[in-house]
């Protein structure tokens, strides 16, 4: 694909507060132009990828993401996704995607009944989706979470579909990739931290890759996830991926 400009639209709801963080992280790719999509607009500005950032849209009142789904822009996002457009939701963005039916399941209150903000480890699932395609299999990644309603839940039928269609993209685990309740911060069913839809063009995850995407902050595991997504979707040169993978294959 020629090195033309890739347009990414980051939706801003009243109450979103990680929009600028996501814009900073994506602006690191020279070929990408990132612009804000105000929730009252109807125009996705020809975006090749729409991102729903973290935050507390509408104060997370009633349920996280419940009210945001009725913003005018969401009609366009649902339509865009229906036509195969790529949509990526992080934390509050994942909650909005579930509330709007673009992704199955729901995000319930953490079992601790408390907001949790800390580093966690997540394991990419080999499910040939753009977001995990380029990640080293079996290699846990340290990516921070910050949420009060992050416990993924789906009923039996939906869970069976998610399993059969291999829609899980990340699960919580230990530093060494072990999956057990003690490494699951919020009680998510089957340790699910992120999923994609059947057509693999809509991705949602609770952990924040944009918060681990800058060497100044001492952790670039999140950049690997963004690299995998941007490389697979738009053939962009990875910023960190190659050095990391080479390193992980050797060690």
């Amino acid at each position: 694909m020629p090195n033309s400009v890739i347009r990414v639209g980051v939706v801003v709801f009243p109450g979103s507060n990680c929009d600028q963080d996501m814009i900073d992280a994506l602006s690191a790719y020279p070929e990408v132009s990132v612009n804000k999509l105000w929730h009252k607009e109807h125009d996705l500005q020809q975006s090749d990828l729409v991102v729903l950032p973290g935050g507390f849209s509408f104060g997370d009142y009633l349920r996280s993401g419940a009210i945001a789904r009725f913003s005018p822009i969401m009609r366009e996002v649902i339509d865009f996704a229906g036509k195969g457009g790529n949509v990526f939701g992080v934390c509050n963005g994942f909650q909005v995607l579930c509330e709007s039916g673009l992704l199955p399941g729901a995000l319930l209150h953490n079992t601790s009944n408390r907001f949790i903000c800390r580093n966690t480890w997540i394991m990419p699932e080999p499910n040939n989706s753009a977001i995990t395609a380029k990640l080293a299999p079996g290699q846990a990644l340290q990516v921070p979470i910050a949420h009060g309603e992050g416990r993924f839940y789906a009923n039996e039928d939906t869970l069976r579909m998610i399993r059969d269609e291999q829609q899980v993209i990340f699960r919580y685990c230990s530093e060494y990739g072990e999956k057990a309740d003690e490494y699951n911060p919020n009680g998510a069913i089957e340790h699910i931290a992120g999923i994609c839809n059947q057509k693999r063009n809509v991705f949602g995850m609770m952990p924040h890759p944009e918060r681990a995407a800058d060497a100044v902050l001492g952790n670039t595991d999140g950049r690997l996830i963004l690299d995998s997504l941007m490389h697979t979707l738009f053939d962009l040169p990875a910023l960190v991926l190659d050095t990391h993978n080479a390193h992980s294959v050797v060690s």
Binding site: A66, I67, L108, H109, N113, T158, G187
Partner: protein, 83 residues
């Protein structure tokens, strides 16, 4: 005409309700071990302007189904009375 709707939204029975579990636990140190199975949901009251009770009912039904309750995890029920 104005109607008042009193809506109860409760998590599905099958769902783990950590808040309810925590409150059930603290009933003991309140000296009320006879209280069990605490389940916590939302109670919502609202005013709806409608020509008739049936029309009011349809409007509240739509509000619950599309916004106030998430069918994946919650059931809802409501009563209507004229304001």
């Amino acid at each position: 005409m104005k109607f008042i709707a009193e809506i109860d939204i409760m998590p599905h029975k099958a769902l783990l309700d950590p808040q309810g579990k925590a409150v059930s636990g603290s009933m003991k140190n309140l000296g009320l071990p006879e209280i069990t199975d605490v389940r916590i949901g939302k109670h919502i009251s609202l005013l709806v302007e409608a020509e008739s009770e049936t029309e009011a009912k349809t409007k509240v039904e739509k509000a619950c189904r599309e916004l106030l309750a998430n069918p994946i995890m919650e059931d809802f029920s409501f009563s209507l009375k004229s304001a």
